[in-house]
Symmetry: C2
Subunit: 338 residues, 2 copies
Amino acid sequence: MLKIKDRYVVAVAGASGAIGNEIINILEEREFPVERLRLFDTDKSVGEDMDFEGSDMPVEPLEKGCFNGIDVVFFAAGPEITKAWIAEAVSAGCVVIDCTSFSRMSSEVPLVVPEVNASDLSWHKGVVANPSGAAIQLSSVLKPLHDAASVKRVVVTMLQAVSATSKSAMDELFTQTSDLLSFKDVQKRAYPHQIAFNLLPHVGQFADNDYTKEELRALEETKKILKCRSLTGTVTAVRVPVFRGLSECVNIETERKLTVAQVKELLASAAGITVFDAPSKNIYPFPLEASGRDDIFAGRIREDESIACGINIWTVTDNLRKGSALNAVQIAEELIKT
Amino acid sequence: MLKIKDRYVVAVAGASGAIGNEIINILEEREFPVERLRLFDTDKSVGEDMDFEGSDMPVEPLEKGCFNGIDVVFFAAGPEITKAWIAEAVSAGCVVIDCTSFSRMSSEVPLVVPEVNASDLSWHKGVVANPSGAAIQLSSVLKPLHDAASVKRVVVTMLQAVSATSKSAMDELFTQTSDLLSFKDVQKRAYPHQIAFNLLPHVGQFADNDYTKEELRALEETKKILKCRSLTGTVTAVRVPVFRGLSECVNIETERKLTVAQVKELLASAAGITVFDAPSKNIYPFPLEASGRDDIFAGRIREDESIACGINIWTVTDNLRKGSALNAVQIAEELIKT
């Protein structure tokens, strides 16, 4: 458990990646009570300096003993780095907020979206998992509907921006686009096929049943967050040539009927959700507008008349903020609430 | 009825638009027996020349009597142009292939995808409607499954390229992208919001129930083509920053169980459909690969275990070819079959 103090020694492992970077920005922006910030990484960024509150902070190597004296550490590198270093951090007495997929489905670890299940923080044992952006967004939108009318089944198409892959995937979209506009051949590294001006129905590794792990975990994590084992559904994930923003097209079947007006009201009153839904005025959420903002935006709310209790929602959030780094910092904020 | 001859006088009304242009290319490419090609338009392209089989063909104005002596006319401008000129064309004895939305839902007009319901051509009264690209693709993919196991319900997310809007929308995606890469402000004309590096859940006009007409007609037309009034479902359409290609993410519920292997076999044996589905080798359909090709490509075929008889399919086709112009020319080919 985190001892309540005035200020905390905070660390970010994987500081130089897209999510690590965003965690540092958000800690500063939200004035998290940081006594001292420590930055760790394993790659060539070690030795470089990064800015925090106007000071240059060195990126240090992950090494034995490096977590001593740290109160909260965010793991924002890959799951392998979490796997290699999490025991060290926990035994040094840190509370770990794991932003990778490593801890999410462990029954020993709460998986938390503060607006949805902050109460699960009470049973953490030194590790709290930050869900995938897909599950943060899906569980947040389903929660008020689930409380009101029990969600039975969802059919989801997720459209994921390149920043959810890596900084270098963002560079690749930029470079491929620029090369195409100059009629040059494109180079492919981040994805097996060109992403510029294209769509790839391939996000993450394929599992045995030909779903990707990303598709499977969006639903599995949502069930864990909502504590609803009976929730069922199916997900298809598509990579889109967009820099930031996760869009989810969600078809929802509930046990009890909800009207469109009720759904709009439930979503509008939920913490962290903003309803943008006035189609005749061209008001609906889209990635460019969600980019850099904190909320989950919901729109295109329509009755699905093909079933007795069906609703369609189109929802967008900034995958680097609420979809990862912001949610992680909000977990830390909850942990230090007195 | 079209009198069978060796060669036909063929006209394209709306010759200079994206679809008109593609019809001209495909007539040439597939060696449609054209005795003479007449090109019509209403805008500033009148008076210009367009190439057909190596000759310059003038674009003529639509005017009274202009259809005399023509066997087959493709209407490829907007529905207003069809509305204004279709009676004139029919009374001049032409067979009209209407590629606009004008005639599609008329009970007097067959709506035809040759691979699916060529037999409906037998009852035309001078007009055959070419379905929307969305319905061509959806009905083609559903047809073999429907014949084998009765399709009950579909949940569809459609991702539409800018070329489905207009040539100027393609220019807008190019210009906005190029301006963004040069850090210039973007101009918006074709869409109410920036489309470059963005997604807009807005394709076509909104109807009273907040669906767009495009979303509603995809299903209505599919029901007409499949002659299946009991088919139900819901569609969400999203504009994507892609030049060519319509992608449909289709969740299908059938009356009787189909295994993934059966679905793959049914689709692979259907005319006009190619299955690209080897995810472990990164083989799945995507817009860039479908572009310029004739088939409907299907992949990411997975069982949806959340219902007793559920299947997911990801399907892509070139919206300017099979999604409109090619299907229209195939209708003409069927009409002249002896």
